[in-house]
């Protein structure tokens, strides 16, 4: 009985110690806002801006509009490089919309202001991204959300093209929904 107990004890130790390692390695675990920030950054990598607006000596601006929690998460990509330019994170804590950027993230509470500014934005090469379905329905180009326990995104391709941007087909094939 003694050897059996000893074997059982060690087997239990090994199971307890290796089980979590296996579980942890199955899927990478990311906090929601950080995941959304990374996905938006990845989407920007697969997007092409009109050549006239791309200058390698100016920063590539992401604007977070009155959303400090998400802006904090975006710090993870500050200083990274995309489109040959350094990424800069701007916090727009005013009610007016920022237009001196390449990507703007629109929160739910700015829905009405976004609707008012939409005509102006449509003429500019700015990728409008949101994490709120209502804002996407109102005309934002990209919706980033959590479905069950993973990230997903949808693209309003008609709105993207209307603003002179191009999104790679390699990105679109991963989209949950593409509006034409």
């Amino acid at each position: 009985m003694q050897p059996f107990k000893k074997c059982f004890f060690w087997a239990l130790c090994v199971l307890l110690s290796t089980g979590p390692i296996c579980a942890a390695n199955d899927r990478l675990v990311i906090e929601e806002n950080q995941g959304k920030a990374l996905l938006i950054y990845n989407i920007a990598k697969f997007t092409e801006w009109p050549a006239a607006t791309a200058s390698s000596d100016t920063p590539f601006n992401f604007t977070l509009w009155n959303d400090n929690a998400l802006a904090d998460a975006f710090q993870i990509i500050e200083g990274q490089e995309t489109q040959g330019r350094k990424v800069k994170i701007n916090r727009q804590n005013k009610d007016s919309i920022a237009v001196d950027c390449q990507v703007i993230v629109i929160p739910k509470q700015q829905l009405q202001r976004f609707i008012k500014a939409r005509d102006e934005l449509d003429k500019l090469p700015i990728l409008t991204v949101t994490t709120e379905p209502n804002v996407f329905e109102a005309g934002a180009m990209v919706l980033v959300e959590v479905v069950d326990d993973h990230l997903a995104f949808s693209v309003n391709l008609a709105a993207v093209k209307a603003s002179g941007l191009e999104i790679s087909g390699n990105l679109l094939r991963h989209a949950e929904e593409v509006k034409f």
């Binding site: 004890f9 060690w10 130790c13 090994v14 307890l16 110690s17 290796t18 089980g19 979590p20 390692i21 579980a23 942890a24 390695n25 899927r27 990478l28 675990v29 990311i30 906090e31 929601e32 806002n33 950080q34 995941g35 990374l38 996905l39 950054y41 990845n42 697969f46 009155n66 400090n68 929690a69 993870i76 990509i77 990274q80 804590n93 509470q109 994490t131 209502n134 959300e145 959590v146 479905v147 326990d149 993973h150 990230l151 997903a152 990105l171 991963h174």
Partner: protein, 371 residues
Amino acid sequence: MKTIKNYLLAYLFLAMGLSAFGQTPPVDLANMSLGDLLNAKIIRSYSDHAAFKTGGQGAPLGYLDSSRFHFSTSYIKVRFDGYMDGTDDLSLGEVLLSGGTQTDKNFPIVPTVITQEATQFKTAYTLSEQITLSLSIPYIRQSSEHISNKDGFEEFTIVSEGLGDIETAISWFKQLDNNNHLLLSLGISLPTGSIDETGDTPGPGRDNQLPYTMQLGSGTYDIKPSINYFGVAGDWTYGADLNMTLRTGKNDRDYRLGNVYQAGIWTRYALTDWIQPSFRIDGVVWDKISGKDTDLPYNPVTDRYPAAVVKPDNFGGTKLLALVGLRLKDPRGRLENTFLEFEAGAPFYQDLNGPQPSEDWRFSASFVLSF
């Protein structure tokens, strides 16, 4: 010695395992591939929690946002004015004994207006994504105006104030899906509020034991389970809750206040970013007092009490309340997780074990700060 070595090795194995469980292997997140990112398991951000939109009376404090520490202070005032027996209103003339023989429906002393005020300080700490601990400390002030047929006490007012029953709770949060959430809590109320408050009432001396309604605590350890559901649909937030106060044993004065069962439904609308009106219906059922404080006046010969508020059977009942509220917040900057909320309401149905003072109205104000 060999045994100690075995245990040390075992501990090392376990420690390695647990640390692997608690950490994500280091990854250059900024350079993750799109495929890896879309395959990653996402854990919820507190800041996007629907509970963030409930707060206040709906109030799973601690699940409000991405903050770890949450403080709130709230003030509530409840005014009782008038009497009811069952669902019937009674006049003060019907309740006050003025000549004739006392029955079990009239009394020589009648509280006319009772005001209860509570200022509550609550702190919560978010232990993990699902578990929050909280501590509530109430300060209570009560006053009661009376009329009586006793000489020298035709009109008099008594007041009691001090620390109430401190409550601590643990809450467990479950996100049912993106829009629906459940919060289960289990609290315990400690008998820190006084049940020995005295005052100058008609009696043998000047420091007589005050009625049950004027005491600051229950005197018992009370179990307080609750279930809160809340959901989001566009600009609407809605929820339902069930809260219970279950008394255990009897206090040092040999009585036990009645159990309290409260159920409510509520909704809140985000009119703008900073103003959110709400509406709530609450139902409350509470039991009679069990046992008796023998220091309170009672005539065992006639089986009569001098006031309704010292008669244990004249407690308990059912009431339904309607309440309207208004939440004010600045959704931008550092104040985005802080809000001020007002709520006021009145019962629209009361069925009381009477004669019993009936509630007239209530008002509350809450300020919630998270960081």
